[in-house]
């Protein structure tokens, strides 16, 4: 739904959904809102409103609803909208009893208007949209700052703890919408706390431990011990959770049981940890665009590059046959401070001892970074599991050549690219490269990866060079690209002609890959450039 007026100054063109079963009020409200230059959609039923919202998640900025709807309690609608779409909701009623108003606020209404409603009251509703965005921005900032600190510190900590944090399905949809909502804000890019399945599970565990009656955001936060998570995040999540539970009791709603969509990595020694981390990004390497929708902000993960907007983690796992993985930190010459939003790329490489310092990996540090990437947090020290964070740089290509990492090393690169555009280039070692480029673009909530180039036949040769596994299977292992713990599993399905095999074939002979990835191996173009994802 194009809204040309949105090009005008906010709040002109604010997209309002009005839900009221009183036809007279519906017309009046519509008229009033139109006079405020807002874009109005009306709806006489709460269920219809919900399906409208669900169907077009990013099509509305704010919802105004009467409390008394015939098909659904207005408070329930309020709660659902808040949980799923996270849009500001204004309640209306002719009943102004304090208890009702209080209930509205408790359920998350950002305002409660009493009928008869005056136009001037409607004129100001944009402030709720604005306030929410400001709030989210601040949350992101706070989180990122603390995350920067935390990431480097915690990266070297037990990686296992973080594994699960990687994006899983969980409230993907709800976060998706919030991300999409973010998209609408022109230049505003922000990351939101993504309540992944695992994170939420920690939350729930904390709540249980504390005791539902005594629970409070601070206690939960302390128990969860997730770096970067703020009390606010927990508080708002707790509120939603409470409502959700009470609704569950009523409806026996089936909770999203979609857990980890990500394939399980075969735990193999030290790699297991990493594998399990959802940093595997799923890149079908076919060069097709795949939306990456989530941010892993909350993940205390391996090198994560958080962009303001969308975060996607791409993990390339390079497995060391020997099972020894060494962390290699790469410092990209061009690598800007995280605040620049250049994704990092810390290449952690687990490689054989005789593994060359994966200069290729190290070279990753040369990953060109583009300004498109807003902010990044990078883990300076990679966990023992091989994780290579790849910087995202849509534009540049490093000219540096990488040396081939030691054979049989599997490096997993979790790359969280939160930039608008990320190019993933796998650096090839000895082989001349083609660029495996994954152009990573975010349209706000999604990061699309596309190959920079068409895979060249050369890749095939590269495949051949793989000592151990067939390119395809290796590539499959690289499926780590596919399911990198991005919150949204929609992400990073890089399907295209680029294949990772070339990538890793270049780098590592005999790289082992986790075959668990349901990855469509295709050729990835490999370039001499840095590997950056």
């Amino acid at each position: 739904m194009e809204n040309p007026s949105r090009a005008e100054a906010f709040p002109v063109g604010l997209r309002v959904l009005v839900v009221d079963d009183d036809p007279t009020w519906m017309k009046i409200l519509e008229k009033m809102l139109r006079k405020c230059s807002y874009e109005v959609t009306t709806c006489g039923l709460a269920t219809v409103a919900l399906s409208l919202l669900r169907g077009r998640r990013d099509k509305f900025d704010i919802v105004i609803s009467d409390v008394n709807m015939p098909d659904m309690d207005g408070f329930e609608l309020l709660e659902q909208v808040g949980l799923e779409m996270d849009l500001p909701v204004i309640m209306m009623s002719v009943n102004g009893e304090t208890s009702r108003v209080m209930k509205g606020v408790q359920h998350g209404a950002c305002d409660y208007l009493l009928k008869p409603i005056r136009m001037k009251e409607l004129r100001n509703i944009w402030q709720h949209v604005y306030r929410k965005k400001m709030h989210e921005l601040k949350e992101v900032e706070d989180h990122d700052i603390s995350e920067d600190i935390q990431m480097s510190r915690s990266f070297s900590e037990d990686f296992d703890d973080r594994q699960g944090c990687l994006g899983k399905r969980k409230d993907l949809d709800s976060k998706e919408t919030s991300d999409q909502e973010c998209n609408d804000t022109a230049a505003v890019k922000k990351s939101r706390v993504v309540w992944s399945v695992d994170l939420h599970q920690k939350f729930v565990n904390a709540v249980k431990e504390i005791g539902f009656d005594k629970v409070g955001p601070k206690k939960i936060l302390d128990l969860m011990n997730i770096p970067g998570l703020t009390r606010e995040n927990v508080g708002s999540h707790l509120q939603k959770y409470r409502l959700y539970l009470s609704r569950l009791q009523k409806q026996h709603e089936e909770r999203s049981s979609v857990k980890n969509i990500q394939p399980d990595f075969n735990p193999t020694g030290p790699r297991a940890n990493f594998q399990n981390s959802a940093t595997m990004n799923q890149i079908s390497a076919s060069g097709r665009y795949v939306p990456i929708t989530q941010n892993f902000q909350a993940y205390n993960r391996t090198p994560a590059i958080f962009a303001n907007n969308v975060k996607s983690t791409v993990a390339l796992r390079l497995k060391d046959q020997m099972g020894t993985i060494s962390s290699v930190e790469t410092s990209t010459p061009k690598q800007e401070p995280w605040s620049n939003g250049i994704p990092l790329t810390s290449c952690v490489q687990r490689s054989k001892h005789d593994h060359e310092p994966n200069s290729s990996l190290e070279d990753c540090s040369h990953l060109p970074l583009t300004g498109q990437i807003h902010q990044t947090t990078t883990s300076q020290s990679l966990p023992p599991t091989s994780i290579i964070s790849v910087a995202c740089n849509p534009e540049q290509k490093t000219a540096s050549t990488r040396t081939k990492p030691a054979l049989n090393s599997t490096v997993v690169l979790p790359v969280i690219c939160t930039s608008d555009s990320v190019s993933v280039q796998v650096e090839r070692g000895s082989v001349d490269s083609q660029g495996f480029g994954v152009k990573h673009e975010t349209d706000g909530s999604k990061i699309w990866m596309s190959p920079l180039r068409e895979p060249r036949a050369k890749n095939e040769k590269d495949f051949v060079s793989l000592p151990e596994e067939s390119p395809l299977s290796s590539l499959q292992n690289i499926g780590c690209f596919e399911n990198i713990g991005l919150n949204s599993m929609d992400i990073f399905q890089h399907t295209g002609s680029t294949s990772l095999t070339g990538f890793h074939s270049n780098w590592y002979d005999g790289l082992e890959f986790n075959g668990d990835y349901s990855f469509d191996p295709v050729e990835y173009q490999v370039t001499d450039d840095c590997l950056f994802v």
Partner: protein
């Protein structure tokens, strides 16, 4: 600007409706919304309002006929009725609604019945007055009406 006799009559009528508390500020809001795109907005809203409110009144009446009446339903209908009449600013009717709801809460059937009768009366009176009002307006030219509406 010269006001015709009809205009003055209409203006007077409106004023008295306000003075006597039949209407409140919401009515002005409706007038403000009236424009070229919806030149009969006020009347349309009043018509729409009365259509629904009349229906609701008969619903309430039906519930009241039962013995004992379903107070939950009464409350629901009344709430809707009040919301509906608030759309045109029918303040006297709305006041009566509040009374009715109080009786409902107390499950005071007598009180409810009495209150309901009053409500019906107020509702009917207002309807009549507004009909006359709009008739007067219709007899005026559109220009004058628009001018008056923006006052």
């Amino acid at each position: 600007m010269e006001y015709s006799h009809l205009q003055r009559q209409a203006a007077y009528m409106k004023k008295s409706l306000f003075d006597q508390g039949y209407l409140n500020e919401q009515f002005y809001q409706l007038e403000e919304l009236q424009d070229e795109d919806s030149p009969n907005f006020v009347e349309d809203m009043v018509t729409s309002c009365f259509r629904d409110s009349t229906r609701l009144l008969s619903n309430i009446e039906q519930v009241l006929e039962k013995c004992p009446p379903d107070f939950g339903k009464l409350d629901t209908y009344m709430h809707k009725f009040k919301g509906n009449t608030s759309s045109i600013g029918a303040s006297r009717v709305m006041n009566e609604c509040t009374q009715f709801r109080e009786c409902c809460d107390e499950e005071n059937i007598e009180g409810c019945l009495k209150s309901f009768q009053k409500m019906k009366r107020e509702h009917a009176v207002l309807r009549q007055k507004l009909e006359s009002y709009f008739q007067l307006l219709r007899q005026d030219g559109p220009v004058e009406r628009a001018a008056r509406a923006s006052n």
